[in-house]
Structure formats: C-alpha cells, structure tokens
Amino acid sequence: MTDQAGAVATDRGDHDPIIQMIGVSKWFGAFNVLRDIQLTIDRGERIVICGPSGSGKSTLIRCINRLEEFQSGRIIVDGIPLTNNVRDIEAVRREVGMVFQQFNLFPHLTVLENCTLSQVWVRKRSKAEAERVARHYLERVRIPEQADKYPGQLSGGQQQRVAIARSLCMNPKVMLFDEPTSALDPEMVKEVLDVMISLAETGMTMLVVTHEMGFAKSVADRVLFMDRGEIVEQAPPDQFFTNPTSERTKLFLSQILSH
C-alpha cells in the first residue's frame, strides 16, 4: 500500500482496499454518465453490479482499467493512481483483467497464442513458460483440447471461456466482467457462469456487470444497483434481494425477477 492510497480516508480502515473510486464523475459530451461515484473494494471481494441499461455500470468498470477517461475524481488501483500517465495506465492494466461482452479474442491467433501473447510481451515470460501457464488456465476453463484452434472455430461459450483464460494468464489481481453472458445463446450461459463461480472460489477479486441474478445470489459479497450514473444501493445479496431500501431498486428487481 503506497502513501497516496493510504492517505485516502475511508470508513473501512481495517480492510485492505484494492480499488478505490473517490468522487468519480464522467460525462459523454453533456451527458453525465457517472455522478460522484464513491466505491471501495477490498481484496478478494466479489461485487455484482446491476441496473437498467444506460445506468453507467459498464462505464464504471471500464474506468477502472482506464478504457474510459473520467473528468473528475480519483481512482486508485492496487496503490497506483490512474492519471493520464501512460506508464501508470499500463501498470494498472497489467494487474486488472477484463472480459468483454463480445469476447474480443484475436481472430488471427490460435487459442493458445491468444493466451500467450501478452504473457510474452508484457510479462516477459519465455514462450515455453507462457504456454505452460496458458495450458494450465485453459484446463481451468475446461477447454484444453481447443488450444490449437482459431477463435472463429469455437462456439460463443467456448470463446468466452478462452477470453477468461486469456485474462487469467496475466495473473491479474482483479478481474472485471462486462456483461460476460449477454451475447451468448441461452444454453451456453451456464458453462461460462460455472467457470466464473469456480474462479470466485479461488478468492479472486471480481467486479461483474451482469443481469444473472442467480449468479449474484450465490457468489456476490455485495450487490450494487446503479441507476442514472449513481450507485443507488449496495448490500449483501440476501439483504439486497429480500429487503431493498430504495424504490428504484424495488422497481428494477420487480421488472427482472417477475418472469
């Protein structure tokens, strides 16, 4: 923990925060997509973020690895403050893995090459070492036999599991999931969620934007509800689903749980 991060006053002094967002606001043009976000995440915490579309939940996690700029406030990840400094940004990105809705695998590389690329170039591992790590994580996401195929030859669920393995190969301290199952056919959602659940069991810090409330109930330490750029409510899942305090949360839950 560096001085900068340590100097930030939080009400969770006895905890060990890995991500701190302090008064973060962001505008797309004149549209205020994030409003004064205050969020502290401890090591090993599993957070599920839900909310209606356009509420800013994807933008929020994309700010954490600086895929989105923010105009005011501060974000500190693992002791590194995110500024415009390219070195800081790259340092944060090395420690933060991300899984996208559209998988975003590199179609010109095989599954194995997808998993070794950043290990070799960013982590400076030898090719053999990188392949060993890649095969280990492909095993973990249960597709070791697809290593030599190209992403285009795999199903959506398989591609998303490769994307998870690709991120894990960098041994990140935090994993961000941006609606990881939204682009999948229904029968493939479970295989991806199973992998995410087993990942959660290893103690990985996870931020998951999703509408899979079953996943939230079984895995999350905290569920965040966002609406119009604000964190409206945050609570452990049992409390969140059975006894929400905000009217907006109640309305949202009634809409997504009614069928």
Partner: protein, 365 residues
C-alpha cells in the same frame, strides 16, 4: 414414360439436366439475351483469331533476318526483337557486361519468390532484402571485385523498372503504415502532418512529382551538392506510393472492430505492441486486394520516368524503335514489353488471391 420400370436405385434426375447439351443451355443459352451474346462473341472470335494467329505465328518472320525480309512479309517481325532484345531489356548497359543486369534481375526475382511465403516474414526478410539489394547494386555499379564501374545513367530496361518499383514499394510500405497510424493518432501535430502529407501528394499527378524532383529540387540544393537523378526519381515514387498506400491501410485500420483495440489495451500491451501484434496483422489482411491493386498500378506507373529521361523498360523499347534501319516495328516492340509487364502484374494478382485465402483461414467469425 407412362410405364416407369420399378428400380431399387434413386430416381435419375429429369431428362435434360445432365450432359453437354444441358451444360450448353445452362451456361451459354439460358435466355434469348445470353444466347445472342454467345452468338455475337463466337462470331467475333471467328473473325479475330485466325488473322491474329497468321500475324503472330504463321506469316511472321522468326530468327535473324534483315528488315527488308520483314517488310515483305505479312506477319510480325520477330527478327526485330531478336535483334534488339538486349537493348530493350538492358538499355545502354555495356554490351559485354550485360550478364550483370541479367543476374541482378534474377536476384530480384529470387528475392520476390523467397518473400512469397509469409513464414519468412518474421526474421529473415529484412537481412535477406538488405543483402540482396546490396548485391544488385554492386553488380549494377561495379567498381569492385574487378567489375568495371558503370554509372547509373547507362543503366536501363528491366533492372531499372524492377529496382524502381520493388525498392519503391518496399520503402513506401513502412512509411505508409506510419502515415496511416499518424492520421488516426490522438496527437494533433502528428495527425495534421500526416493529413497534409497524404493530401498534398495525392492531389498531384505522379508526372508533376517526377518533374519537381528532377527539375525543381536541384534548384534548391546548394551548389556542388547533387543528388543522383535515378535516386531523385526513386524518392518521388516512394513519396507517391506511400500516400496512396497510407489511405488503403487506413481503411483496414478503420474496418477493425474497436473491441480489438480494447482487448489489447486491457491486457497491458503498449501502443507499438498493440499495433504490431494485434492491429496490423488483421488490418493489413483485410486490405490485401486494394494493396495489391495499388502495387500493380504503381509497377506500371514506373514507366512514367521516361519523361525525365530515365531508361526503364518502356523507354528502352522506344529507344530500340529509333534505329533508322529498323523503323516501324513498334507493334512488336510494345507487345514484347507488354509481355513482361503482364507477367509481373499477373503474378501479383495471383499471389494476392493466394494470400487472401491463406489469411482468411483464421478469421472466420
């Protein structure tokens, strides 16, 4: 047909869908309009081909012969080519040393052939080309290893065309990549410079660039400093090709899904790593057809250097025609030159098809 015999095998297709007659109907006479076109084309071929064969082969003069024999014959005068092919292929290069440009051409062709396989691209290609081109220049210039010095104003024909286009494209390609990246850069100065360069060069005909490089540039140089004419033409052609290629490559960069940039970013790859490992392999593969299109156009555009007095293949053919003794055999000369241009362009086009098929392997989404 009223009493079909029972059979165990699958029923045959209806009558008239198999065999040469059916093929004819499907491909040549599927409608009255297509039938008319077929007949017209057949008539055209009947009119054209026999006289062409007569002129090219049957009535033509082969082997060594004097112009008088040619003028009496009805066909092509290949004796002219027999007499002049060394002048057309190698220009005014000293006659007894013409094995040197021949070897140079062979080295360039060998380099091209060796570069065809993408597997050689990673490490070998740069040293291979550096050594190859150095060898070509040593052969052409001479002055070492007991080779007589030949200044480049005496070079001509095929090696000049090949050198201008191959070196031109090889040098223009990396410049074009930088320009394309620059035009999409977030840095305002880099972006502005790229836009200005591309638009200025694209807005000017190649001929005027060549004139500027050969006539205007020396005016601005301090007295005593001269840049070789061939080199000036080469630089003008590199500038020209890079501007065009840059726009083609930019098309590929823009066609790439933004998620690819974000995935590379999120893995912590730096800008140049991202560009080299993720962006360019995909962006360039997407624009192979227009890149090769630009290459082919550029290869033929090298013939414009004749206006500043450089002796490329085309100029050499024109020079061969100025011989008083052999006047008037321009058809043969231009056909001969056309065969060379065609061979190189056709090869490029075939290669591009192969490369497209090869890169498409992994990119099935």
């Amino acid at each position: 047909m009223t009493d079909p015999t029972p059979t165990d095998t699958a029923p045959p297709p209806p009558a008239g869908t198999l065999g040469p007659l059916a093929w004819l109907r499907a491909n040549l006479f599927s409608s009255w309009f297509n039938g008319l076109l077929t007949v017209l084309i057949l008539w055209g071929l009947v009119e054209l081909i026999p006289p062409l064969v007569h002129w090219l082969v049957i009535d033509s003069v082969w082997g060594p012969a004097d112009p008088q024999t040619c003028r009496l014959a009805d066909g092509a005068c290949w004796a002219f080519i027999h007499e002049k092919y060394r002048l057309i292929l190698f220009g005014t290069y000293p006659y007894d040393d013409q094995w040197r440009p021949l070897l140079a051409v062979m080295i360039i062709v060998a380099l091209l052939a060796a570069s065809c396989d993408p597997r050689t691209w990673c490490r070998l290609i740069l040293p291979m080309w550096a050594i190859g081109i150095a060898l070509v220049l040593v052969l052409m210039f001479g002055g070492v290893f007991g080779l007589a010095y030949v200044e480049n104003t005496r070079w001509g024909g095929l090696p000049v065309t090949l050198l201008l286009s191959v070196v031109g494209l090889a040098a223009a390609f990396p410049v074009a990549i930088l320009l394309a990246l620059g035009r999409r850069s977030d840095l305002p100065v880099v972006k502005a410079l790229s836009v200005v360069y591309i638009e200025m060069i694209r807005g000017v005909p190649l001929i005027s660039l060549l004139f500027m490089s050969s006539v205007m540039l020396p005016l601005f140089l301090p007295t005593g400093v001269t840049i070789d004419k061939l080199l000036r033409a080469q630089i003008a052609m590199i500038m020209f090709a890079s501007a065009y290629l840059a726009e083609v490559i930019r098309g590929g960069l823009q066609g790439l899904d933004n998620g690819q940039y974000e995935a590379a970013d999120s893995l912590g790859l730096g800008y140049w790593q991202k560009v080299r490992l993720v962006i360019l392999p995909q962006a360039l593969a997407m624009v192979i057809p227009p890149i090769v299109n630009t290459f082919i156009a550029f290869f033929k555009d090298t013939s414009l250097v004749l206006i500043i007095g450089i002796f490329d293949l085309m100029t050499a053919a024109k020079a061969a025609l100025t011989d008083m003794y052999w006047r008037g055999f321009y058809k043969e000369a231009y056909l001969f030159v056309a065969v060379f241009y065609f061979c190189f362009c056709f090869f490029m086009s075939k290669y591009s098809k192969w490369l497209e098929a090869r890169t498409a392997r992994g990119v099935r989404r």
